[in-house]
Symmetry: C2
Subunit: 337 residues, 2 copies
């Protein structure tokens, strides 16, 4: 019989096809041989030499006079960095000024690179940029929350080839963060401990859904994973905010993310994916009940009417089998550079 499982963080239910589950290798993407990308593209605003095609940068990390990672405002920003905050209510119509920031993290100068195949050092520079921009953005009094995310591939919502991720700073707390905060606070009130720390403790004790662990991070497929191969990367130390990581944790996160992305790339044939950092709003950054984490969502299935209508998901795979599959993926030795 199928089994309904509940995500304790969001209270979402997922139907897990326990008996008729599809096996992990059925999700390996079969891609035709696309012609390799050039390492430089004349029209790409993210390629070195084309910096004038993007708005003036907000951050740059250089080595030997060349930039390695850049952060620039999104040319087609969803929010405007100019203008005053206001809130309007007219009957049931609630409106807030679309002030905020929408930035692009250009992850490498190399147009043909793939995030999953960057070096650990390169990934660490990207994470450093996330953190630096996060701190700059939360100091704007109009900002309540910062969302850091990556879209890889067309199913994940991007058409730009040059490896990049994005940061959106909003003047309100997004509903998905607000809901997680509320559930976590309720748990803290009931049990006196952090819900996320508890989830991690149980996952480590059981072990079947763990994909990888390091000194500072635990990567696992949630018990109630909504979609195949969705993963959580939790910091072991209780921290509400992504911005509270110390240097050693940042290096460890880079190693972890590098390894997890490579396992997904090699194990599942470079699937389209999103990842997102779910951090506490800035005003709650020291709270005891919330715990930041990274969600990685390979886009292997489509959401249909049932998901849109109920908020429930149907997962046709077993989280335990998927975790085992990824644990066993061996990575090729790093290419000598």
């Amino acid at each position: 019989m199928p089994e309904l499982r509940q995500n304790p963080i969001t209270k979402q239910w997922v139907i897990i096809a326990t008996e008729r589950a599809r096996r992990p290798h059925e999700f390996v993407q079969k891609r035709g041989d696309a012609p390799p990308l050039p390492s430089y593209s004349e029209k790409c605003p993210f390629c070195p030499g084309n910096e004038h095609l993007a708005p003036p940068e907000s951050l740059r990390i250089t080595r030997d006079g060349n930039w390695q990672v850049r952060v620039v405002p999104n040319k087609f920003a969803a929010l405007s960095s100019e203008g005053k905050f206001f809130r309007k209510a007219e009957g049931l119509k609630r409106t807030v000024a679309g002030v905020g920031f929408h930035e692009v993290v250009v992850e490498t100068p190399n147009h043909s690179a793939t995030t999953a195949l960057l070096t650990e050092e390169e990934v660490e520079l990207i994470i450093r940029c996330y953190k630096e921009r996060y701190f700059s953005l939360i100091h704007d009094p109009r900002i309540e929350n910062v969302t850091i995310f990556k879209n890889h591939g067309s199913a994940a919502g991007t058409s730009l080839e040059h490896p990049h991720s994005q940061i959106i700073a909003t003047p309100i707390i997004p509903p998905d963060i607000r809901n997680r905060m509320e559930e976590a606070l309720r748990f803290y009130d009931d049990c006196g401990e952090c819900l996320f720390c508890k989830v991690m403790e149980e996952e480590l004790a059981e072990g079947t859904r763990i994909v990888h662990q390091t000194e500072h991070f635990v990567s696992f497929i949630p018990f109630a994973s909504l979609t195949p191969f969705s993963m959580w990367i939790y910091p072991r130390r209780h921290m509400a905010s992504f911005g509270e990581m110390h240097a050693e944790e940042m290096s460890d996160l880079a190693r972890t993310l590098h390894l997890i992305l490579a396992k997904v790339y090699h194990g599942l044939g470079n699937p389209d994916f999103n990842y997102v950092i779910r951090t506490a709003p800035s005003e709650n950054r020291y709270c005891r009940y919330y715990h930041w984490y990274l969600s990685l969502i390979p886009r292997l299935t489509k959401t249909a009417g049932f998901e849109l209508g109920s908020g429930m998901y149907i997962n046709v795979t077993l989280p335990e089998a998927n975790a085992e599959f990824l644990r066993n993926i061996e990575l090729p030795p790093p290419a000598s550079s």
Copy 2:
């Protein structure tokens, strides 16, 4: 400057690109000329003559000895109709037996038909089936909620050509329904009226987002529409449950849905879409604070990391402009049959 708008039903925020909005006609789908489908397909379990390829039917509406609409259990059901309900808690792991029903409504015997181009009479038969099956399913004591939905096209999550919709009856109240119930109850406690009735009243007074209205139904694009051309169809009469419609309302809903689907088909070039009926759980079917409605979601854009990470959406169109566009779509006269 862009504008953030809040959906009063779900408290979700959407960023509306008020100034740089794309115009409605930019969303008209350009499809290559696919070869027309045959009206019968040998391998299709939904075609007349192939009834043995699907499990035994639960409902059939016939005319002159031929069936016009059939309901059959889904051969690859997400839930099992056999077995006892149980609930298990083991630490934070919450599990419920995957009991329930997963049925397919075969909307027409004609393999090559398109739901949006069926006749009003045909649409009414489909709605009659929804209602009959809804009442049968809620009488099973293991069932808490029934979700009725349709997936049209691959972006909407279906690969089956033969026009069909689906019904899933679950042993729990799905989170999206629970959240709407909670918000609506809070509003009722505060204001003493139904939130949905109030939304409809304001939309009718303002008029700019109305697409169509009839004696019993109002079709409009929500003020805080999350995605381009998403629409709500609300019954004017306060009713928590879809099952409470009387015969005249059912005919009116059929006329309305028929017209709205045709406007979307002709106006936007047959886009992929989902629709879903958001009805109260059966135990709340007479409550004063909830109001059932139908959501229609054309799948014209993709959800990316920002949406997955925040629950916020970026809508690059103006709900008011989209409503005007659809109001002005003229439908071709019905083909003589």
